[in-house]
């Protein structure tokens, strides 16, 4: 029997992007952009991926870093305000074990021609299978990928 436990934690990542809130928002809502900086960010082979960006819509992915271990990500969008805010609930599983459930808020605030992004994750980390520090680092890496995506976008625009 697994020893059940829940660790609750909140962390905030703040970052300024050299792009308008509309462009930052589009990197979340546009499937092609989302695919580049989020879905393929780890370079893991993808077994399955679906994306339905609307309130009540789901985004789910199944990835395998090594062809054996399966990682699942299941997201349900709870609130979307174009160019301004996204709130989503997501869970992560490794194999048949759920390692976390989280509520995530992305807020976009214009700052001159730039955007200040606040990512707030309120998480329940389950049964000691995931660590808050690892999750925070993973998210920081992701928001670095978003910067690369936005730079790419500027270069090609």
């Amino acid at each position: 029997m697994t020893d059940r436990s829940v660790t609750h934690a909140t962390f905030v990542i703040e970052r300024v992007y050299d792009a308008s809130p509309a462009r930052v928002f589009a990197a979340f809502s546009d499937p092609a952009a989302r695919d580049r900086w989020f879905v393929k960010s780890d370079g893991w082979p993808i077994a399955e991926y679906t994306f339905d960006f609307r309130v009540g819509g789901h985004e789910s992915g199944r990835f395998s870093p090594d062809g054996t271990m399966m990682v699942y990500n299941e997201t349900i969008y709870q609130d979307i305000v174009p160019d301004n805010r996204m709130v989503f609930a997501y869970t992560m599983m490794i194999g048949d074990k759920r390692i976390s459930a989280s509520l995530a808020t992305v807020e976009l605030k214009p700052e001159g021609k730039k955007t200040r992004l606040f990512y707030t994750e309120q998480g329940a980390f389950l049964d000691g299978l995931d660590q808050v520090a690892d999750r925070e680092k993973g998210c920081r890496d992701l928001y670095e990928q978003l910067a690369v995506e936005l730079e790419r976008d500027t270069a090609t625009a």
């Binding site: 349900i76 805010r85 609930a89 509520l103 309120q122």
Partner: protein, 157 residues
């Protein structure tokens, strides 16, 4: 245009009920029991449109003070461990305005013959439509009602 804002908050409430974790868990998983104790205030009506208590399932309820505003709550069950834990994500709307999105963890811990229940609500309060104080007061009332419900059903058993 609405001024957008998000206030994040974590509410932790704890109760010890003089009964088994299985009975307290059952009161969260049965819609008839929830209708009896799950009203945040005297004189409020609550009705379920849908109830599907399983990991990956969801429920929808409508509630509010009789003759007053109607609130719609949608809950998505994220992780259910029988008699041990329920993690769910939810959002609340009224008049097409989204007021709240949250992640709720309820842990049921055996304490001798009693059950210590720890409830953690990690919430995003949207655009000033709702407040953590309201949730805390509502939950406190509901958890007291749950105590009454458990005594009543214990006596009837």
């Amino acid at each position: 245009m609405t001024e957008r804002s998000t206030k994040h908050s974590t509410i932790v409430l704890e109760r010890t009920y003089d009964t088994s974790p299985a009975r307290v868990f059952a009161a969260w998983s049965n819609p008839d029991a929830l209708l009896r104790w799950g009203s945040p205030s005297e004189g409020w009506d609550v009705a379920y449109e849908r109830f599907d208590f399983r990991t990956g399932g969801s429920d929808v309820s409508r509630f509010g003070p009789r003759g007053g505003p109607v609130f719609v709550n949608e809950t998505f069950y994220q992780d259910i461990v029988l008699n041990t834990r329920i993690v769910s994500a939810s959002n609340m709307t009224s008049d097409d305005k989204r007021l709240f999105a949250g992640l709720l963890t309820v842990e049921f811990i055996a304490a001798g013959k009693a059950c210590r229940m720890v409830m953690t609500e990690q919430g995003a309060f949207l655009d000033g439509h709702d407040k953590p104080e309201n949730h805390e007061a509502g939950w406190n009332e509901m958890l007291d009602n749950l105590g009454i419900e458990l005594k009543r059903t214990q006596a009837a058993a």
